[in-house]
Amino acid sequence: MPGDVSSTEDPRFMNESAPADAWKTCYRELAPKLLLFARQWVAEPADAEDVVQTAFVKFWRKQPDAQREHYPLLYAAVRSTALDLLRGSERRSRREAEPCVTVLREDSTFFDTSVEQREDAALIEGALRSLPPEQREVLVLRVWGSLTFAEIAATLGESINTVASRHRYALDALRRQLKPYAHERF
């Protein structure tokens, strides 16, 4: 599976002997997560990839010896870049006197799924999209980014209590939305 990152989930992946290729390991591990995080703001996958590219390059140039504890900075860079892009799009829309509407593509999904997971993924993605953005980003960072509450708080510039509350609200909302299907799938 392209998004399977379990094989590279090693917090000590950075070794000092090969700094030139160190970014590749980091990229392989984090790129899918960063892309999912970027797509919380940017609808188009191509735009989301541009966001990840910009943020990753900027981050790696500043932190060429990045370790696991630096990952919140990378997520923060993605968030900042995505918001910049979003603000630019909004300005462009206002300039062109058109309403800024985020058009979600029907064929774009957040997840790489097998045939059996496809329906579940669609349900979860729909439930995710219905969450408030501040709850959704916390949930994505917690579940798929594997960040602690402290790291999420550092990434978002919020308190740990706020982050934990948003996470709890997000799970509650997801549970409510997925409850009709719980007897079948969840």
Partner: protein, 185 residues
């Protein structure tokens, strides 16, 4: 379903992988030399050599010493000037009767030293008091309040050659300033 179980269900879905082109673009950008020096990083301060540091420190101490010496000299000069003014005021008292008599011999002696030749000899010296001016301002000194009094003279000095009878006459204006205690006036 509790929170942990729900999180596990969510985590079972893997995020979509980016396209292969993204990795290529990132690699190209990372391997390319940045066109500008990143400004967000901390610019390391250039290392200061030990020799330069010692030299600057020595220069600093020397400058501080020179400043102290200048301050001391200025203070000493001020004190000396005050002392001279005080002594002048003190020696003025006996001059009340006749300041001319006290200082009369000094110009003659100086003139003798200057014209100490084998031929000419001082024969006559005199001093003509031209004016006396009392200042309207009173000065505060360590010895009390004094008034500035200016005596303006015209000195006549004459030298004569004993053999040839030649005469040399010089007129020199002179002004003496006295600080007289106000109590004496």
């Amino acid at each position: 379903m509790n929170d942990s179980e729900l999180e596990d269900q969510l985590r079972a879905l893997a995020p979509a992988a980016p396209s292969a082109g993204l990795a290529t673009r990132v690699e190209r950008q990372l391997t390319a030399t940045p066109s500008t020096v990143p400004t967000a990083g901390v610019i390391q301060r250039p290392a200061r050599t030990a020799l330069a540091w010692h030299w600057l420190r020595a220069l600093g101490w020397a400058g501080a010493g020179a400043a102290v010496a200048l301050a001391g000299a200025a203070l000493f000069s001020t004190l000396g000037k005050t002392a001279r003014q005080s002594s002048s005021a003190a020696t003025t008292r006996p001059l009340e009767a006749g300041p001319l008599a006290t200082v009369n011999a000094q110009p003659m002696a100086e003139a003798s030293a200057v014209t100490d030749g084998p031929a000419f000899e001082p024969t006559e010296t005199s001093r003509e008091l031209v004016s006396v001016k009392n200042s309207d301002e009173l000065l505060e000194t360590e010895n009390g309040t004094v008034r500035e009094v200016r005596y303006t003279y015209l000195e006549h000095m004459t030298w004569a050659h004993p053999v040839t009878g030649a005469r040399l006459e010089i007129e020199v204006p002179r002004e003496d300033v006295y600080f007289l205690p106000v109590s004496l006036q």
